[in-house]
Every structure is written in structure tokens, then in C-alpha cells.
């Protein structure tokens, strides 16, 4: 690594103290498709738009919401390929923890390790920051948790959050609608309504994806049929 022409970091400070590459990465996130998450009293829901570039794309093969462990799921806004790489690394870290301690990794620990990876790519030679922000939803001994991880590697725990194109409208909507004692099904309805707010075109089970985890501690991506049921309830 030391011999390479690119052993210096491409992410360097500007005179104003900012890391411009990270700002640009956040811009990439901000122009990505909207995604959001809501933490209920008995679970967490995450959801995203699934706008495909053409009607010829086989939408059943595209899955934006992914499992990291049986009880932790994640969704992103930003660059899909960067998301794939992070998911792969996070899954490996979770499995390594399990192999060492024979205990499933706590959500906070996995988020911290993923965030560490993202930070490393802002301070290493020859690499660029990841162009994604992640929403990580999990349920462990500490209860339901929702975390957002940014390209800089900073992470925050949220009661409800949104990212991507429609972030300001979505967050305003969530601020109004969120209540502390919301249950998981209410949260799913609220998530759908929030997505609907900034949606271009007709919302349907083919152009959104929803993942949820409840007290059973099993993260699941909803099937299109289940999404249709929730959509019907919302109408």
C-alpha cells in the first residue's frame, strides 16, 4: 500500500475545516430515492421508494431492503453498489461476532462497526467515501432500535427519520405524526403516508418496499400482497 501512487487520502480538509468529499457524498445521498424509518413501541419499520429506470426492469429481482442478521435489517438512500459493499462487510462483521461470542451481535455494536468502516474510507489512501446513508433497524435485548449512518461515519439513533430526495417534507410530516406509544402497525401506516407525501405518480406495492421487525425479533421484508393490504387500509 505504501508503494502505490495513491497512498495519500483523497478526502482532505478545506480551509474552512470541511471535508468536501463528504459534503459531496451527502449530496449524492440527498439526490437518491427517499427512504425512511420509524421506531414504534413494539418494533421498527423501514421503507423506501423503488423507482426503477424502466418498466422493462423485473421489479421482483430488485431488493433494496436487506438483512444484516436475522434480527437486523437495513435500507439506504444513495448509490446502490456502495450499499451492496457495506451490506457484505456488515454481514461478515456480524458473523464474526457470533462466531467469537456465540451470541448475536447487539444492534449498537453492528452499527458502530459499520460506521467505523465508513469512516475508514474517509481517511485512507486512494479510496473515496461511500455514497450512501443507511437506516439500520433492529430488535435486541435493549428493545427496538433505529439508527442512521452517514458517509462520514457518524451515526445517530432516531425515533423516526428520513433520507434522500424528499427528506425535509418527509421529516416535517414525521414530526407531526410521530407519537411515543405508536404500535408497529400504526408505524407502517405512517410510513406509507410519509412516502406518499412526496411520491411522483401512483404509489403501489410494485414501487415501494417495506421491512419490519417486531417483538419476535425476526426482520422481514413485506411481500407485495402484504403491502397491498396496508395500502388498502391507508386509502
Amino acid at each position: 500500500m505504501g508503494d502505490s501512487q495513491y497512498s495519500f487520502s483523497l478526502t482532505t480538509f478545506s480551509p474552512s475545516g470541511k471535508l468536501v468529499q463528504i459534503e459531496h457524498a451527502l449530496t449524492a445521498v440527498g439526490s437518491g430515492q427517499t427512504s425512511l424509518g420509524i421506531k414504534a413501541s413494539n418494533g421498527v419499520v423501514i421503507a423506501t421508494e423503488k423507482k426503477l429506470p424502466s418498466i422493462l426492469v423485473d421489479e421482483a429481482s430488485v431488493q433494496k431492503i436487506q438483512h444484516l442478521t436475522p434480527n437486523i435489517g437495513t435500507v439506504y438512500s444513495g448509490m446502490g453498489p456502495d450499499f451492496r459493499v457495506l451490506v457484505r462487510k456488515s454481514r461478515k462483521q456480524a458473523e464474526q461476532y457470533l462466531r467469537l461470542y456465540k451470541e448475536p451481535i447487539p444492534v449498537t455494536q453492528l452499527v458502530r462497526e459499520t460506521a467505523t468502516v465508513m469512516q475508514e474510507f474517509t481517511q485512507s489512501g486512494g479510496v473515496r467515501p461511500f455514497g450512501v446513508s443507511l437506516l439500520v433497524a433492529g430488535y435486541d435485548d435493549k428493545g427496538p432500535q433505529l439508527y442512521q449512518v452517514d458517509p462520514s461515519g457518524s451515526y445517530f439513533s432516531w425515533k423516526a427519520s428520513a433520507m434522500g430526495k424528499n427528506v425535509s417534507n418527509a421529516k416535517t410530516f414525521l414530526e407531526k405524526r410521530y407519537t411515543e406509544d405508536m404500535e408497529l402497525d400504526d408505524a407502517i401506516h405512517t410510513a406509507i403516508l410519509t412516502l406518499k407525501e412526496g411520491f411522483e405518480g401512483e404509489i403501489s406495492s410494485k414501487n415501494i418496499e417495506i421491512g419490519k421487525i417486531g417483538a419476535d425479533k425476526v426482520f422481514r421484508v413485506l411481500t407485495p400482497a402484504e403491502i397491498d393490504d396496508y395500502l388498502a387500509e391507508v386509502e
Binding site: 462466531r99 467469537l100 461470542y101 456465540k102 451470541e103 447487539p106 449498537t108 455494536q109 458502530r112
Partner: protein
């Protein structure tokens, strides 16, 4: 010369009713010569988790230092103590890392898990875990310890009776082993307190 019998040791742990006891001898020898009579073989990892290590004394000390290091970092990162089962998995992994140049120790792990349920286990020097519901033994006096424990053990003993039982089992076993002895060191741990006692047996 057997390397596991170079220093001499005896460690035993027993399960009681919502409590456990872990005991060891106190002799440190270099083959037939005794050099110390107050050697610490049992160490506290946290208030509800103890580990006793038998075998080569230098590895006993080094392994203990490594485990305390790992546990302290875990405590800082995860803001909680390690469960005994988790700790046992960690010890097993650390021992297996040195599969082809092992630590010459046999650990005995004893702790109170969730709901204060006692947990004991032992493993060989390369990390093969052996869980037990009643007692586990290790060291040069292990054969005698097996016999004594099998005869004296009863399930669901309270802390007082458990202390008496484990002490008698330890002292009678080390008396039959020339490499271990010079007294005993017993810890009896309940959810609320840790009782530590030094035993005086045949001082030879």
C-alpha cells in the same frame, strides 16, 4: 517430564442453588520443589464470573491477563458485563487460536447467568468446551477430584453447605496428590455477595 505436571494444580467448581463455588489449591512448585504457598489460580472477571486456571503457571498468568484485557474492552464497548456463556465461548476461541502451540492450561469457568442461574464449564488446553450441571474439575489432582466430587455432591445445595462440600472434596483430593496442596482458596458466589475463604489443610 510432563509439562502439565510441572507446577502442580487443582481447581474445582460446583453448582448450588442460585449460587456456585470455585476452589483451588495454593501450591506453586517446580517439580518436586515447592516455591510458593499462596499462588492465585482463581481470578475474578466480574462480580458474577470467575475463572480458575490449572496447568503451567506462566500460561495461567498470561492467559488471565489476556482475558481480563478482552473483558475490559468488551465492558467499555458494550456497557455491560459478559455473560458466563459468552465468556466461555471467548476463552474457547482464544485457546484455539493457539492450536499448534497451545497455552498449557485448563480453564474452569464459573458464573451466574441470566436470572442468577449458575453456569460452570471446563475445557481442554485447545478450547474443547465441556458444560456440566453439577461440578467440573481440572489439574494434577483431577482424578481424585472426580471421585471426591461424585461422592460428596448433591444438587441444589445452599451456599453454606456448598462451601463445606467443595472444601472437603478439594482437601481430600489434594492430599492424594503430591504436586498440589498447601491449603485451599474457596470462593462462594451468590447473587448478592462473594465469600472468599482460605482453607488450612495438610501443609505439604
Amino acid at each position: 517430564m510432563q509439562i502439565f505436571e510441572y507446577n502442580g494444580s487443582a481447581v474445582v467448581a460446583m453448582v448450588g442453588k442460585n449460587c456456585f463455588a470455585i476452589a483451588s489449591d495454593r501450591r506453586l512448585g517446580v517439580q518436586l520443589q515447592t516455591i510458593a504457598t499462596d499462588f492465585q489460580r482463581i481470578s475474578k472477571i466480574h462480580d458474577h464470573l470467575f475463572i480458575g486456571l490449572s496447568g503451567l503457571a506462566t500460561d495461567v498468568q498470561t492467559l488471565y491477563q489476556r482475558l481480563v484485557f478482552r473483558h475490559k474492552l468488551y465492558q467499555l464497548r458494550e456497557e455491560r458485563d459478559m455473560k458466563p456463556e459468552t465468556f466461555a465461548s471467548l476463552v474457547s476461541a482464544i485457546l484455539y487460536e493457539k492450536r499448534f502451540g497451545p497455552y498449557l492450561c485448563q480453564p474452569v469457568i464459573a458464573g451466574l447467568g441470566d436470572d442468577n442461574k449458575p453456569f460452570i464449564c471446563t475445557m481442554d488446553s485447545i478450547g474443547a468446551k465441556e458444560l456440566a450441571k453439577d461440578f467440573v474439575v481440572s489439574g494434577t489432582a483431577s482424578e481424585s477430584l472426580y471421585g471426591a466430587c461424585e461422592a460428596m455432591f448433591k444438587p441444589d445445595m445452599e451456599a453454606e453447605e456448598l462451601f463445606e462440600t467443595i472444601s472437603q472434596a478439594l482437601l481430600s483430593s489434594v492430599d492424594r496428590d503430591c504436586l498440589s496442596g498447601w491449603g485451599g482458596h474457596v470462593y462462594v458466589v451468590t447473587p448478592d455477595e462473594i465469600k472468599e475463604k482460605i482453607l488450612k489443610g495438610r501443609m505439604d
